[in-house]
Amino acid sequence: MEFQELCARLSIDYTATLARFSGNEGLFRRFLLRFPSDGTFAKLQAAQAAGDLTGMENSAHTLKGVSANLGLGKLQTACDQLVQAIRRGDGTAVPGLYAQVEQDYREAAELLATAEVR
């Protein structure tokens, strides 16, 4: 598929995100396609398994930044909510919000890993 079509499937605002890369589509493309191999989610997962809330907050914060830069709006919002919940000490909301992050991450990562972009 075309790169723009991939962006549409991921709900990425192509024009706005391309502007973040100063119009350099090659750079945008390289970082977006490399996203599945970014280790930040794995760190978040490990922190969650260990019950390490500070570790979760840090990783979720980093993941939020990466997804914001790549225009992955849904994942950015999910990460932001998780960070907010941990910061205000709302322990009961954390598992649900983490599940949302995981779902949005897997959706994007799988699509990116399998897409054959021209």
Partner: protein, 366 residues
């Protein structure tokens, strides 16, 4: 660190931009935004950034700084830069996702120029960075221009002073030449006048708190003390034997004639040097007891600088050869002066004069 392929640049240009962020993606986005305007330096944490700043500080136009990083975070780096007074030279921009009031306050307190929220919009970041960088560079340029002009002014002032002195010396040497002397006499009197004034200042004598600048002006003015001799006919000035009473009266007019000559000099009214020279020309033959010439001033009526030059003149005449006498030794000259054989001087001045040569001489009058 990708700052290894930095090419050289003409001296003084700030052509580098330092991007400090632990995330490669963030660095790539900022690099891309500034690639056309600068050579980009990248660092993954504060420590790497610090080493690049140490290496390239004079060439770095701005630093874009993330806050949360391993090794050394953005605030720690800011503390370091502040401690080295580098924040006045290099504008630092915090690039942070955490724009809480507390963090922003801390950033501005530490001296950042602006705080830019993540995710960045390249167009806005470029605009904000550019206006601050332009401001810094204009200020730096202005500072350099002012420095340069200050140095030029100081050099010109020195040149004018040198020129002034050389004109004065030429004039005085020409006059000495007429009376068969070399010009060394006026230079020695000038030097001795300076030494005496400093001695008087050191001893804290009343009215002797001269600045270094004034002492220099008086010493230069001393060179002109006999400038009026230019108006004295050769046959009197160079007469080998004793002057007649009439000839001596004419000789005495060199004091007043010197003043008349100085009054013809255009800078006379504004330059303090000429005001001192005027006093010195007129009054360097007055005596403390009021029996000198031309005005028969006594005691403190005699301007101190004129009195100092009078003593320096007498001492130098005694200790050097003249056509009518051999040189006296220092000891002989001191005895003659202190014994009142060569004029009458202020006791305070004589006392300082003795201690100029012998610091253990008693202070009899101050």
């Amino acid at each position: 660190m990708e700052g290894c392929q930095i090419s050289p640049t003409p001296l003084g240009a700030r052509d580098l931009l330092l991007i400090v962020d632990d995330m490669e993606l963030n660095r790539a986005i900022l690099s891309e935004a500034f690639r056309e305007d600068y050579q980009i330096l990248e660092a993954e944490n504060g420590l790497e950034a610090l080493s690049l700043i140490n290496q390239y500080a004079p060439r770095i136009a701005a630093v874009l700084l993330d806050v949360v990083m391993p090794e050394m975070d953005g605030f720690q780096l800011l503390e370091e830069l502040k401690g080295r007074s580098l924040l006045q030279q290099i504008p630092v921009f915090l690039i942070t996702a955490d724009c809480s009031e507390e963090k922003m306050h801390r950033g501005y307190e530490l001296g950042v120029m602006d705080i830019i929220g993540k995710p960045v919009v390249p167009y806005f970041v470029r605009r904000r960075v550019r206006s601050v960088v332009e401001l810094f560079q204009a200020r730096e340029q202005l500072g350099r221009t002012v420095d340069l002009q200050d140095r030029q002014l100081a050099r010109q002032a020195l040149e004018i002073q040198e020129l002034n002195r050389s004109i004065i010396e030429s004039l005085a040497t020409a006059i000495e030449f007429r009376s068969g002397e070399s010009g060394q006499h006026v230079r020695r009197i000038s030097a001795l006048t300076g030494q005496l004034l400093r001695q008087l200042r050191e001893e804290g004598c009343v009215g002797c708190a001269f600045s270094d600048e004034i002492i220099e002006q008086i010493s230069d003015a001393a060179i002109l003390h006999d400038v009026g001799k230019i108006a004295i006919p050769d046959q009197i000035l160079n007469k080998p034997g004793r002057l007649t009473a009439e000839e001596f009266e004419l000789m005495k007019t060199h004091t007043v004639k010197g003043c008349q000559l100085l009054e013809q000099i255009p800078q006379y009214r504004t330059n303090p040097l000429y005001l001192y020279a005027h006093d010195i020309c007129r009054h360097h033959h007055e005596r403390w007891d009021g029996r000198g010439y031309p005005d028969k001033l006594a005691g403190d009526e005699i301007p101190l600088w004129a009195h100092v030059v009078a003593l320096a003149d007498v001492y130098d005449a005694l200790t050097n050869e003249r056509c009518y006498k051999p040189p006296f030794s220092h000891q002989e000259a001191m005895e003659m002066i202190l014994g009142g054989q060569c004029g009458v001087f202020s006791p305070a001045l004589l006392s300082a004069f003795c201690r100029l040569f012998d610091p253990s001489a008693p202070d009899v009058s101050c």
